[in-house]
């Protein structure tokens, strides 16, 4: 009990210090603007409002993520029941990483499960490899299905239709799961209202600055949001590399649809709007390979951004129905804010600061704005890295994260939003794998 009180006090002190620094910078920023013209003052007011929203957002996310962490620590350490689980591995040209991925599944610490590899019309040696692995480990453990190339969604649906398990794990063909993943995820299904559980995705190939920044983003950006949403049992996106579903739920909502480029996000929204709870398990870990080049990174994030927007637009009717699911309604608007409004504000902020620095001469405004956001990022990074028992040195990337990574991402989201609004055509593309798993 005293340890819990100590932890709560530490977190509150840490957050208060961070907010105090942020408030001081905020005040210094505001005082610099009193002598500027109307355009500068008005634009600064909008950006200050935005800065306030960002600060509150960080505070709220960290607070609810911490409450979820406290609650999580009180849950049973692992499942007491062992329903039969089907693990579906959709594979398209995954010859590089399929063996490592399947071998991680074979070593799963769980007594009752099967693996279904769905070859989605690969042109490399994915299918022969999968059949070889089935021969090595036994066709009772591994089944292989092949189909003409139809996309990840159709491969997953094919696997779901052939699944024998009560629970289904949907993952990527290049993901590697930890041995405790199934036990940790399955325990949540003792609650009959839980329809799905989102696992935790981490970057395995932390080889260059880009992949290290993505590793930080997965922990601070994606996992933090998922953990905070999990407090409300309303995780908005079950990640592609690791998601555990009741088969009944997938059948009820119709499985994966192929009409968006973010089929995982779209499926999660349907599950939530059908009334099911979606939880998050931080100990159900999937390691994945992040893009190592800017070109590959751009393609991936562009697809994610447009896919998320497509999913929201598909469910746009829910934006105007706050009841009966007020939390789902609010979180859906948050997704709209973070997909469209936030990147737009960031891009506007950058353009504004160029004007402010060049014509009005308030260059210190820039450093105060950047410093406040960086303080928030470092604070959130340290909190998340400590919570997930990750390498704290990743927090050093927070400076570059705010300076370059976030603006780059925001520009991608900005253009992706415009392309989606104007209906510009796009394709799937294929992320190049280097077999780092």
């Amino acid at each position: 009990m005293f340890q819990r009180i100590y932890r709560i006090c530490t977190v509150i002190t840490f957050m208060s210090a961070g907010l105090a620094v942020a408030a001081l910078l905020f005040n210094m920023y505001f005082n610099r603007l009193t002598a500027a013209n109307f355009f500068v003052n008005f634009s600064s007011f909008i950006l200050l409002l935005f800065l306030g929203i960002v600060t509150i957002r960080y505070g709220v996310l960290i607070w609810f993520a911490y409450l979820q962490h406290i609650e999580h620590m009180q849950e049973p350490p692992e499942t007491q029941e062992y329903p039969f689980v089907t693990m579906i591995v959709p594979a398209y040209n995954e010859g590089m990483g399929l063996e490592a991925s399947v071998e991680s599944l074979i070593s799963m610490d769980y007594p009752r499960y099967e693996i279904v590899v769905v070859d989605d019309g690969s042109t490399d040696d994915t299918y022969p490899q999968a059949v070889r692995l089935a021969g090595v480990y036994g066709t009772e453990r591994i089944r292989v299905i092949t189909q003409p190339n139809g996309g990840k969604a159709s491969a997953l649906n094919n696997g779901i239709a052939n699944a024998r398990g009560e629970l289904i794990v949907c993952m990527d063909g290049d993901s590697r799961l930890e041995s405790q993943t199934l036990k940790q995820a399955v325990k949540h299904f003792s609650d009959p209202s839980v329809g799905a559980v989102a696992g935790d995705v981490k970057v395995v190939n932390r080889l260059n600055i880009l992949t290290k920044l993505q590793a930080l983003e997965y922990i601070e950006g994606l996992s933090l949001v998922r953990t905070a949403h999990a407090f409300f049992r309303r995780v908005m996106v079950i990640p592609g590399p690791i998601g555990v579903f009741r088969k009944q739920v997938l059948q009820e909502v119709g499985g994966y649809f192929q009409d968006t480029y973010a089929e995982d996000c779209e499926l999660t929204l349907r599950i939530l709007f059908a009334g099911w709870k979606v939880k998050h398990e931080s100990r159900a870990v999937a390691w994945t390979e992040a893009p190592e080049t800017l070109q590959a990174f751009f393609k991936q994030r562009y697809r994610w951004s447009r896919g998320t927007l497509q999913a929201v637009i598909k469910h746009k009717a829910q934006l105007w129905k706050p009841f009966p699911n007020v939390v789902d309604w609010f979180f859906l608007w948050l997704v709209v804010f973070e997909s469209m409004v936030w990147p737009g504000m960031d891009v506007f902020g950058i353009v504004f600061f160029v004007f402010v620095a060049g014509w009005v001469g308030l260059s210190t405004v820039i450093i105060l704005w950047w410093a406040q956001l960086t303080v928030l990022d470092i604070m959130a990074a340290l909190f998340c890295l400590a919570l997930e028992k990750e390498d704290l040195r990743l927090a050093l990337q927070a400076v570059l994260y705010r300076l370059c990574f976030i603006p780059y991402l925001d520009v991608i989201k900005f253009f992706a939003s415009l392309d989606e609004i104007f209906g510009v055509k796009m394709g799937w593309g294929k992320l190049e794998r280097f077999g780092r798993i």
């Binding site: 299918y127 022969p128 189909q147 192929q258 800017l294 950058i350 450093i367 300076l403 370059c404 780059y408």
Partner: protein, 63 residues
Amino acid sequence: MELIPLLSTVILVATIVTLLFAAFSYFAYRAREKKVPRVTTSLMDKQQILLEPQFFKRYHSPE
């Protein structure tokens, strides 16, 4: 030179370069996408493909 104006300049330059680079990445991506020949398959075609009988390729071991 004072520290704060120097830092402001560094931040501003880094941000502008990132912004321009991101915009360049976007236009390069669009140019690449236009060059890639796209096989358009309608939803009806995909459904037809999936309904056709599937014949598994027999795998022969190297030995």
